[in-house]
């Protein structure tokens, strides 16, 4: 007789396993798992993440929050398109999926480091160009500052899923009959 989950932790684990099993095998969202659909979702996510800074800076909090929300929705769609492979722990993945996920995090780190490093370098160059007596007065609003922070938070959130979606070809249709 199958032992039913007893403790809250066991029930949560069983619930998580059911959800993971569903997302790894379902075919409801296969339309988002083709190569063109994945590339479109990557482009959408990139536009929204980059757009967070001008949305907060020019449009204020309302526009900023709206674009941030859309960026999170694009992340959710991206995750569905790759069956959340980028976010699952080892015990739910097979050896190829683990290799894909690990490689994606390495590439995502390199991309993030390049973007942040590039922005910092451009900032330093701008500082040198405009500084007088080694001083610069920078005026910013809360919205502008939050926009930069949200960009820095959301970019590493989306990048691993973006990399997996880019590296993986469109899914092969499930072969039911031999």
């Amino acid at each position: 007789m199958t032992r039913l989950p007893q403790t809250g932790r066991e029930r949560r684990e069983a619930d998580l396993e059911r959800k993971v099993d569903r997302v790894l095998t379902d075919s409801r969202f296969d339309v988002m798992r083709t190569r063109p659909a994945r590339l479109s979702l990557i482009a959408l996510g990139a536009v929204l993440v980059v757009g967070i800074i001008p949305a907060y800076a020019a449009g204020g909090a309302i526009w900023g929050i709206a674009v941030t929300g859309l960026a999170y929705i694009s992340w959710w769609l991206l995750r569905l398109s790759i069956r959340t492979v980028a976010d699952l722990p080892d015990r739910f993945l097979d050896e190829r999926q683990i290799a894909v996920r690990n490689r994606a995090y390495l590439d995502a780190f390199r991309i993030y480091a390049s973007v942040v490093g590039g922005m910092a370098t451009l900032g330093l160059i701008a500082f040198v160009l405009v500084a007088e007596n080694d001083e610069v007065t920078l005026t910013t609003t809360w919205s502008q500052a939050i926009g930069v922070v949200m960009f820095a938070l959301l970019l590493p959130t989306l990048l691993p899923s973006m990399v997996v979606a880019y590296r993986e070809p469109g899914e092969v249709r499930k072969q039911v009959a031999s």
Binding site: L24, L93, D94, E95, R96, Q97, E171, V172, K174, Q175, V176, A177, S178
Partner: protein
Amino acid sequence: MHSRLEQFRLTRGMTRQELADAVGVHYQTIGYLERDEYSPSLALALGIAAVLDVAVEDIFSLHPFTETKGPRS
């Protein structure tokens, strides 16, 4: 890595899903193996060979298979 996995699987009348369930991987991984887009670990290769009841070198090879000579050509 080259494989004749699809050939052996079809001979046994198995679907990708059935083979995947038997060796504990996602069915997509079977597709990657059949298209020579992923090289399996030794454990997975041996597991697949055991399920299909053939020698592992009959399924996987470092060299392309030929129709007449097989994997050890």
